[in-house]
Amino acid sequence: MDLTAVTGYRRATTRADLALAPGETLVAGGTWVFSEPNRDVTGLVDLMTMPWEPIEVTDAGLRIGATCTIARLLEEPPVPGWRAQPLFDEAANALLASFKIWNEATVVGNVCRSFAAAAMLAACATLDGVAEIWAADGSVRREPVASLPTGNGTNTLRAGDVVRAIDIPAAALRGRTALRKIALAELGRSGAVVTGRRDEDDAVTIVVTAATLTPCVYSFPVPPSEARLVESVRSEGDFYTDALGTEDWRRHVTGVLAARVLADLMGADPGDDRRTECTA
């Protein structure tokens, strides 16, 4: 929709351009900021014009730049040995946003909005993603994606902070992954998302999002029993009620999804036949 309070639009090409005046906000894909009236926003600063590589693949892993759209991430050719790559497809499909939105929405934008149902955030958190944050004072800091959110739509980012990129370590990308989601409609906005990773050394990471206000990360040096996992994910976590599900249902189905994710991780490796059908 038109942002009728906006009176300026700047295209950033240098770090200095990213400094925000009062009322200004950064726009990447624009798919969130243009979806609500945002009457407090009076200026837009376009960061898609920054001279940044959207994606960099190195021996160290994957660097997802702030200008990388979801569609661009999914177009990245498979890297031999990175069994986790399909997790990004599954996460994109777990979004309410359609493939048309993926053409504009960015991965980092999804992380920065920090909604509980942010599935790209779930994928990055599950793969030990770390955000490189350019602060307004010129400093740079690094923070795990999993610890960025402080609530449903709030995070530790301060005014003027820019998430330059998210780095995913190669070790995590070599793990097996799985994603299960459920919503109150088959392909609706998620009420619960459980993602999981099983590393080459058999360590298992399970992440709960959407059902809880902030991501819940469970790390197991060896695969847990189903009962232990279900008990863990149901007993902890800030489950909540909103239009996308009630607290009791979210708590219960989180256990169901976690058990199914664990079974996916421990079952026969589907390899290239991996399906993207991962609703509950």
């Binding site: 929709m1 038109d2 942002l3 009728t4 309070a5 906006v6 009176t7 300026g8 639009y9 726009v27 894909g29 624009g30 798919t31 243009f34 979806s35 609500e36 009236p37 009457r39 926003v41 200026g43 837009l44 376009d46 898609m48 499909n93 309410l96 946003a97 359609s98 493939f99 048309k100 939105i101 053409n103 504009e104 459920i182 109150l184 409609a185 088959e186 392909l187 609706g188 906005r189 009420g191 909103d242 239009a243 996308l244 599900g245 009630t246 009791d248 249902w249 219960h252 189905v253 169901v256 993207t276 509950a280």
Partner: protein
């Protein structure tokens, strides 16, 4: 700045915060529609350099140098792209408002996308069709044919049938071409089809008068408050603000936003702007300004002082006699029965010995069933454009189902002669009852008269939720008794309807809801205690089914419970108890309502057809470990609302051999225009391609009550039929056609009404662990009389089933602390997506109605009505626990199943 739009260079700088959607529309590219303006519905989809995007989320400044393709540019000139041909041929649209965005989306799909088609379509909402024809059209377009899925039947005649069903009853032909001579009984293509799929058919806001001012409304932050003062000085001082309207500008005359043939049908409790607000979001003031940006800023500059009043939100509490009184000054003369109890109307009474009937029953089923508020979610939001025409008339182009009723009421409120007001509609982007109201025309009129300028008010999607109307939430307690052999001994029904802060449609919905739902059964004893009350919540209004679905949910659920208790098959239970041809009907007394007749009777066939389809199955298996169940329900509906529904029409033969139909009724996806052309062509014995239409304009004909109550065929169609017959008589008698044409006139009053029936059946699977419900088979059998346009009628049924599935499983307006919607957006309010709506097998009873025209009956609201109870009954039989509340969302079904397991385990 410069870009290419559909092959034409477009220049001019956008505003910094402007999205591509409004930029394109301001340059005349009106194929780009606004459904939600938030990226959720897809009506605004365009291709940017070949990639599909939602143009409402796309910064316009980013389009510099790019190539934009809208639905109007998918093929050169007036040609149709293959996907557009398929959409037009396969009835893959009804109102057509979502269609330009859908065809653009579909045009970007490839064979690889088809296995995942539901997911590819999830960002494209269609409220009308139920998606089956859309999926079919997309698949055919992508494959350049059926790819074998249609058993080779898609070419040539394009006749399709479900593979397991006998072809004679499965009505699924795609359209015949406009040049065909066949008319009534064939699937004639809608006259606007080509324009709709190209985005070239104009809707309300696709025409614009230069210099039109924009109107924005300030809504109340309180559920109940007196307005102490409004300081508009800062707003009025802003450049570009032309007026601020408050209650001091509004006429004192009270009216109802609901429109009916009889003005007295609804309580006169509303002013255009009032000094008391009774729900959060109610109009407090309106700003008229040069642009929306100025209007937005001016709204924020208004200073309003309120005296907050106590509010009541629960309908039971509202009628207690101790609750805050919402309309203390309204009297029975205003249409409010007892303002001190917030009571608008009641219907109480009964016949036979109900208590004795229940006492002697072998089985008694009882419970209280309730439904959530749902929104119509027609993709075109409400809105109107008003101006003073060259004749000095107040003129309104509006998105309405009832232009004549709007004209007459505006004339009354504004104290003008009706002939000094003209109201017309373009094609309307969906209605479902939501546009049988005055929600924008009154305030626009006031603004036009105050400023003397053209003024437009186009609601946002959020306003659709907060400032129009919802379906009525009912609480229905049903107690049914039956003998051991399954024959009903008594029906005892209590109904409480919550109409919200204003009584638009309160009375009609309550009476209609309790009428055909209870008349459908031949119980020897019935008792009804129904009331409708005000609360300080968003008003409810007319919604497809008009109350019937709410009561039918309770009655059909209770009947299913009796069948379970007695071990009787549910179809047999209906055969034992449902009315038969010629039965005397009754609710609180025995005897038909005035003018209601059995013009035909097809319920017996509907029961047989649905049962046979369920027995036949469709081969779809449940996922491993899921519980399965079958359920069914029936519904009955009168083919016309009671106490009159009038239409006049004319058909004119022109010297050039073509014919012009002039009729009042509006096209909003109901397909009336298609059928009116077919009726006239059949009566005149000419091809439908020679027929032109002029409709939904108070200048077009003398009068038409409007497009509601499922009257497109039974009232407007009858008037056109009479006019065509009159014209034919004149032509047959040898009258010459003068230069101005030869005209036949027709009219009907709708006083005599028939009855139509629907039977819905489902087979479902339920994941007990999550509460997910998957529909494995969906069946509807309909008694529509002679089906005038099989593909179109099938579409009405499929669309009704889809909307029913939405209300039954997904859709729910959550009511916040101040009584207004807490989830006023499609991202949190679940309009069914393609994935949520399976194909429905549709069967028609073979009947011919004596009222006609051509033996036809209405079939637009009614397919919705039996869906929720049929699903509830299927879920009950799958999980062993009965749902009492819709939507039967996954959390609720999980809770029910878990409780049943605890009891049985």
């Amino acid at each position: 700045m410069r870009m290419d739009v559909d092959g034409v260079p477009v220049e001019g700088d956008p505003k910094p915060g402007q999205c591509l959607r409004t930029y394109l529309r301001s340059r005349g590219a009106t194929a780009v529609k606004k459904g939600c303006d938030a990226g959720d519905c897809g009506a605004c989809a365009v291709l940017v350099d070949g990639k599909p995007v939602h143009s409402c989320l796309y910064p316009a400044v980013r389009a510099e140098g790019r190539t934009i393709t809208t639905a109007a540019g998918l093929a050169p000139d007036d040609a149709l792209a293959p996907v557009q041909e398929e959409f037009a041929d396969r009835f893959a649209f009804q109102c057509g408002f979502c269609t330009p965005g859908l065809v653009v989306t579909a045009a970007s799909l490839k064979e690889d996308d088809l296995p995942d088609l539901d997911r590819r379509l999830k960002g494209s909402l269609c409220r009308c069709t139920g998606y089956r024809p859309i999926r079919e059209a997309v698949k055919h377009a992508v494959r350049g044919g059926c790819g074998g899925e249609c058993d080779g039947r898609c070419g040539g005649a394009r006749e399709e049938t479900a593979s397991s069903a006998p072809p004679s009853v499965q009505a699924a032909p795609a359209s015949s071409r406009e040049t065909d001579d066949r008319v009534v009984g064939t699937s004639a293509r809608p006259p606007a089809a080509a324009r709709v799929v190209q985005g070239k058919e104009p809707y309300t806001f696709d025409a614009w008068i230069p210099g039109t001012l924009r109107l924005k409304v300030l809504g109340s932050p309180h559920a109940h408050a007196r307005i102490v003062s409004i300081d508009a000085s800062a707003a009025l001082a802003m450049d570009g603000v032309h007026a601020v309207l408050t209650h001091e500008d509004a006429p004192a005359t009270r009216f109802s936003t609901a429109r009916h043939e009889n003005r007295g049908d609804d309580p006169r409790d509303t002013r255009i702007l009032d000094d008391v607000v009774r729900f959060q979001g109610q109009r407090v003031a309106a700003v008229v300004a040069d642009s929306l940006a100025i209007a937005d800023a001016a709204i924020e500059a208004l200073r309003v002082e309120y005296e907050v009043l106590p509010a009541v939100f629960d309908p039971e509490e509202a009628r207690s006699g101790t609750a805050p009184v919402i309309h203390p000054d309204r009297t029975p003369e205003d249409g409010v029965r007892d303002a001190s109890r917030n009571l608008i109307a009641s219907w109480k009474g009964g016949y036979g010995e109900v208590d004795a009937g229940l006492a002697e029953a072998a089985a008694v089923a009882t419970g209280t069933w309730s439904n959530a508020r749902v929104t119509h979610a027609q993709l075109e939001t409400h809105g109107s454009i008003g101006w003073i025409d060259d004749l000095g008339r107040l003129t309104l182009r509006t998105s309405s189902q009832v232009p004549f009723l709007v004209r007459d009421e505006l004339a009354l409120i504004l104290d003008r002669a009706p002939e000094s007001v003209r109201v017309f509609t373009a094609r309307v982007g969906g209605g479902f009852g939501g546009k049988q109201e005055i929600f924008t025309e009154d305030i626009v009129s006031l603004a036009v008269l105050k400023t003397g300028r053209p003024v437009a008010y186009e609601m946002t999607r959020t306003e659709e939720f907060t400032s129009t109307a919802t379906r009525h939430p009912f609480r229905v307690t049903a107690t049914l008794g039956a003998s051991a052999d399954g024959v009903l001994t008594a029906m005892d029904i209590q109904v409480l309807s919550n109409t919200g802060a204003y009584g638009n449609h309160a009375i009609g919905v309550m009476f209609h809801g309790c009428a055909e739902s209870l008349e459908a059964y031949r119980s020897p004893a019935k008792r009804l205690d129904a009331e409708v009350v005000y609360t300080n919540t968003t008003p409810a209004g007319a919604f497809r089914g008009y109350g019937l679905g709410q009561v039918i949910f309770a009655v059909e659920s209770a009947l299913d419970e009796l069948a379970l208790q007695l071990g009787i098959d549910p179809f047999q239970m209906r055969r034992l108890n449902a009315v038969k041809d010629g039965d005397e009907l009754g609710v609180t007394e025995r005897g038909h309502q005035d003018g209601l007749i059995f013009g035909s009777y097809g319920l017996d066939q509907c029961l047989d057809l649905a049962e046979a389809a369920l027995v036949r199955g469709n081969g779809v298996e449940a996922p491993d470990g899921w519980a399965t169940g079958e359920g069914m329900a029936l519904s009955m509906i009168a083919t016309i609302p009671p106490r009159g529904h009038r239409a006049t029409a004319s058909v004119t033969a022109r010297p050039d051999g073509t014919f012009l139909i002039a009729a009042g009724t509006a096209e909003f996806g109901n397909g009336t225009h298609t059928v009116l052309g077919q009726i006239a062509a059949e009566a005149l014995g000419v091809p439908v391609s020679l027929i032109e239409l002029r409709t939904s304009d108070t200048d077009a004909t003398t009068y038409d009550t409007g497009a509601f109550g499922s009257t497109g065929i039974t009232v407007a169609g009858k008037a056109v039929h009479a006019a065509a017959i009159a014209l034919k008589a004149r032509l047959d008698s040898g009258e010459a056609i003068p230069p101005e044409g030869l005209t036949g006139e027709g009219s009907t009053d709708g006083m005599i009404r028939s009855l139509a029936f629907n039977v819905q059946a489902f087979r479902v699977a339920v994941d007990l662990e999550t509460g997910s419900v998957r529909i494995l088979q969906s069946i509807q059998a309909a008694d529509a009389g002679v089906v005038l346009n099989p593909a179109q009628c099938r579409g009405q049924i499929e669309g009704g089933v889809a909307q029913g599935i939405g209300s039954a499983l997904y859709e729910e307006i959550l009511v916040g602390d101040e009584g207004s919607p807490a989830n006023p957006a499609f991202r949190t309010y679940r309009v069914p997506q393609s994935a949520d709506v399976p194909d429905t097998e549709v069967y028609f009873a073979e009947t011919s109605d004596e009222l006609g025209p051509f033996g036809a009956k209405s079939m637009s609201e009614s397919p919705y009505n039996p869906v929720a109870p049929a699903l509830a009954n299927a879920i009950r039989r799958a999980i062993g626990a009965r749902p009492y509340e819709i939507p039967m969302s996954r959390d609720r079904v999980w809770r029910l199943a878990a409780a049943a397991e605890r009891v049985s385990g």
